[in-house]
Symmetry: C2
Subunit: 126 residues, 2 copies
DNA sequence: CCCATTGTTCGATGACCATCATACAGTGCG
DNA sequence: CGCACTGTATGATGGTCATCGAACAATGGG
């Protein structure tokens, strides 16, 4: 399992570290490189729990950041996605001006078995 | 300076909730009444992770608070135990001047399956 | 080539939290 | 009783973090 990015064929892309345009590619952290403390801290926030749940409720690569309905502004939302990437929970891919998201289910669950399932359980009020 | 309990007030108190002495019984929260956010927040702290692990490494009711080896003073340690009780992770029982501890394995695991096991896994550096 | 959309960065701000030192209280023992 | 031990409460402090507004940048469409 050497590949960390889904090296798909989103357009004829040159090198660029898997980035099609001139934009700085988002910094990702593989779950294997994530600490338990980091993972728990990332999920110990109501907004981020919400983001993860909304993300899990839709197919991969269908939601851009602006599509998430959380009660914070753009800046804070961007910050939360940075945290989620740093915890190995979310992968992002640029498509045009948008940044599409994917929940790293398998990888994260392999590193922290059960944690994601626990977070996605429906019977949680807050 | 704040309000302090006088011995007289407490001498008149009825119902000491299963407490043998005159000391205020520790406030417990059952895991069923605990929010996922609360549980994750409680475990998203290096000192508390350490406390839970040390607690899990010994038989129930064998460790008093002072027996735990964490790099904080008594006051902070007491605070951490309050948080752990509030998250349904720890149960405490007074015995003499000491306060003995027990990890609520079954109950907590029933409420948050896998979370405790995840925390107790040995291959975690920080 | 302008421009709306999307997302990031930056500085500031306020809230929360972990920690400490200190004072206080309960317990049991000599 | 007096004392050592154990844990809690209080108030202060410093640090981290979530949030915002505003400025900036990238992208693609008219």
């Amino acid at each position: 399992m050497g590949k960390r990015f889904s090296t798909e064929e989103w357009d004829g892309m040159p090198e660029r570290t898997g980035n099609a345009g001139h934009r700085a590619a988002p910094v990702h952290t593989h779950p294997d490189d994530v600490t338990l403390l980091t993972a728990l801290s990332a999920l110990a926030d109501p907004v981020r729990i919400q983001l993860v749940r909304e993300l899990a409720a839709q197919p991969d690569w269908t939601l851009s950041c602006s599509n998430f309905d959380v009660p914070v502004g753009r800046a804070a939302k961007s910050h939360h996605f940075t945290v989620l990437r740093g915890a190995g929970l979310v992968e992002q891919r640029d498509q045009g001006p948008k940044r599409l998201n994917r929940l790293r289910r398998e990888e994260f669950d392999a590193r922290f078995p059960g944690l994601l399932e626990l977070t996605l359980r429906a019977d949680e009020s807050d």
